[in-house]
């Protein structure tokens, strides 16, 4: 087992990829000096956010209020033959947690498309974000990209991942192959941040099971197809886990409990995944399931496991004689490790109501509850979005924890109810 700090290397790698992107741009510009770029587009968004935690924190050093500034610029270049280059950056400044202030290269890839007889091929080279799955309460099969956890505890935001991504598709469906040469560690909140574990996770000390450390060559493949009412995906991933096992740094704990930290350990795993959706009239029926080998459970022991999320969504259109669509969602999360699962989804029911107002402002509201069947711990989440003008949108998110049991994985965040209000300017 290799163990050493990874200080600025990740950032160097990102810079390297950016340089590669710019080099590619140079190539695209052509040797003749004449521009081969047929079209370009600059777009993006700037957001001002306030995140407020109404309850005093479990630890005195954690802050109650954070002012945030987010910038997400994007550049798109396309040559006459359809080859394109996409660059998307991300930066967040958070006044309450310096660790949450972070930059990321979300996308920096060259896209090539072509055809061999009836088959289409597509190659993406560089940094990209890939999404697999169908469920709403949890993205279980989605494994290619690392979670940018400091962004949102929902685990929905992802970091950019260096990759070569080849897709072949035809009447028979789509087959995708991923070569993933570099691992990015998960971002965890810092000492002053909320929504963290009782002990701080040291983002600069990362351990890998593989001797190749973050340079272990990971591979993944996915086959997907859409037939009639069904959209189905089968996937496999072999390589460095995106979900770390958090290990206490014991020597430090013994000397000074205040300096005690958790060190993330990334193991070598294999995961088989299935995602399926049936779309019938106003029903969406969904299933995601995984079988993962090689990961440690909450007790620190290696345990192979199966997990699934199954459920669906039903929409009542134009309710109460208005334009409002009302959606009802329900999903069940299950993990064969039960209380040995290192996450909160060992046996949890998710239920939610979605309102789409279908108005000028595209107003929508999602209110959900996630209840742990074993511990009766509950969390409530509400998300509200509304457009204020052609370029300004308002986003409000609130999460409340209720009755979090001491043996629940979310216990450390029991006092971290929050309200997040954001104003986004898109250009």
């Amino acid at each position: 087992m290799a163990r050493r700090p990874v200080p600025r290397r990740a950032k160097l790698a990102v810079a390297g990829i950016a340089a590669l992107g710019i080099a590619t741009l140079g190539i695209t510009t052509g040797a003749s000096g004449e521009s081969l770029i047929d079209s370009h587009e600059i777009s993006g968004s700037v957001t001002v956010e306030n995140r407020w935690f109404p309850k005093t924190a479990a630890n005195a050093e954690q802050k109650d209020f954070g002012v945030n500034l987010i910038a997400a610029p994007e550049l798109y270049l396309e040559s006459a033959d359809g080859t394109s280059l996409t660059l998307e950056g991300f930066y967040r400044y958070d006044s309450s947690d310096s660790v949450r202030s972070h930059a990321d290269l979300r996308k920096a890839y060259l896209l090539l498309v072509g055809q061999i007889e009836d088959q289409e091929w597509e190659l993406r080279l560089g940094v990209d974000r890939v999404f697999w799955g169908v469920a709403e309460s949890r993205h279980l099969v989605d494994i290619v990209n690392q979670t940018d956890l400091v962004e949102n505890p929902s685990e929905e935001v992802k970091l950019g991942q260096p990759m070569a991504h080849l897709t072949l598709s035809g009447e028979w469906g789509a087959a995708e192959l991923f070569a993933l040469p570099y691992h990015r560690p998960r971002t965890f909140p810092g000492r002053h941040g909320r929504l963290r574990s009782a002990f701080v996770v040291d983002n600069d000390r990362v351990m890998y099971e593989s001797g190749a450390e973050e340079w272990h060559f990971d591979v993944a493949a996915r086959y997907s197809h859409s037939v009639g009412l069904f959209d189905v995906g089968l996937s496999v991933f072999d390589g460095t886990s995106r979900e770390p096992n958090l290990q206490p740094a014991f020597p430090l704990c013994a000397l000074d409990p205040g300096a005690c930290v958790l060190v993330p350990l990334y193991e070598q795993i294999r995961q088989y995944g299935l995602d399926a959706q049936m779309t019938y009239e106003a029903w969406l029926l969904k299933l995601e399931a995984i079988r993962r080998m090689g990961a440690r459970n909450a007790l620190g022991e290696e345990e192979d496991y199966t997990a699934f999320v199954a459920g669906g969504e039903y929409t009542f259109y134009a309710v109460f004689d208005t334009d409002i669509d009302l959606g009802l969602l329900a999903e069940w999360n299950r993990d064969s490790r039960q209380m040995r699962a290192p996450n909160i989804f060992q046996n949890d029911i998710f239920a939610a109501v979605r309102l789409a107002f279908n108005d000028f402002a595209s107003t929508d509201l999602l209110v959900g509850i996630l209840e742990d069947v074993d511990t009766r711990s509950r969390s409530f989440n509400a998300q509200f979005n509304r457009r204020l003008s052609d370029s300004l949108t308002l986003n409000v998110e609130a999460t409340f924890f209720h009755n979090i049991a001491a043996d629940d994985a979310a216990y450390a965040t029991r006092r971290d109810n929050f309200v997040n209000i954001g104003l986004t300017y898109s250009f």
Binding site: E120, A174, A282, D390, T393
Partner: protein, 278 residues
């Protein structure tokens, strides 16, 4: 024609024997025109719809820039901009791609529609924030398209097989003479009980559509204007105005930079193609 209707029967479980019988009567009547000296209103209605479709066929594929101006009864305005790409599939439903440019917060969001003549359409949405392709229900046919007065069923390809048709009368429309036909949706997903369509007798272009809601009250009127002739054969409307009589709201849909027989590839109209739509 017979084949299409036969397929339709297989695809629809809710059809009663009686409707099956009626549908077959239409297809027989629409067969050899020599049989009927004075065709029934149903046969004439179907004939008009088929002729209108025939004249629009063979455009290969189409690229167009669409601007939608949404207006409330009080005169408040909001603008949507999108690009439309349509890929024509011979003797089957077309494939359509919408990519949004305005408002900026939904820029990059794209819809992919695979229309079918014999079953509900397949519909996917691409959400750029998560890089997620999501299959969504197409049963919300009567739902508003981007907050406009156009419903999904008004925007996507109106396959003839999804209606029963009936010719009503001829009447002048502007400088032209129009046929007025009634079309009744066969599916239960439609928000309309019936529609009245005005086609001019010369070019079979639709000029006006009246939409009646499920209570059979006049809900919306569509007026079509600024037809332009493309490739010396195809008429394409430059402006469509939809007025909602119940709410007083209206939407003007303008098409520009229209290009027929555009150089599009069917591979862009797949789930993987949707991921790179922009």
């Amino acid at each position: 024609m017979e084949k299409v209707i036969t397929q339709k029967h297989r695809g629809r479980r809710s059809l009663t024997l009686l409707t099956l019988f009626a549908a077959c009567m239409i297809c027989l009547a629409a067969g050899p025109p020599a049989v009927a000296q004075d065709p029934s209103p149903e046969a004439r209605g179907l004939e008009i719809a088929l002729e209108a479709r025939k004249r629009g066929e063979g455009f290969g594929n189409l690229v167009s820039q669409l601007t939608m101006v949404l207006r409330t009864a009080k005169g408040q305005e909001s603008t949507r901009q999108m690009r439309l790409k349509t890929f024509e599939v011979a003797n089957a439903g077309d494939k359509t791609l919408f990519v949004f440019d305005q408002p900026r917060d939904v820029s990059g969001t794209a819809f992919l529609v695979h229309s079918h003549r014999d079953k509900p359409d397949d519909l996917w949405i691409f959400l750029p924030a998560l890089n997620r392709v999501k299959r969504i229900s197409s049963s919300n046919q009567s739902g508003s398209f981007m907050g406009s007065e156009f419903a999904y069923e008004d925007i996507t390809t109106q396959e003839i097989e999804k209606f029963t048709h009936k010719y009503l009368r001829d009447e002048p429309c502007g400088d032209l003479t129009c046929t007025v036909s009634e079309r009744t949706p066969r599916g239960e997903d439609s928000g309309y009980s019936r529609q009245l369509v005005w086609h001019d007798k010369k070019e079979y272009r639709p000029w006006r559509v009246e939409y009646y809601d499920r209570r059979n009250e006049l809900l919306k009127t569509l007026t079509v204007a600024d037809y332009e002739l493309h490739l010396n054969r195809y008429w394409y409307a430059g402006k469509q105005t939809m007025v909602n009589h119940l709410t007083g709201k209206s939407t003007v849909l303008k098409a520009s930079d229209v290009q027929l027989k555009a150089d599009l590839n069917e591979r862009d109209f797949t789930r993987t193609g949707l991921r790179r739509a922009r």
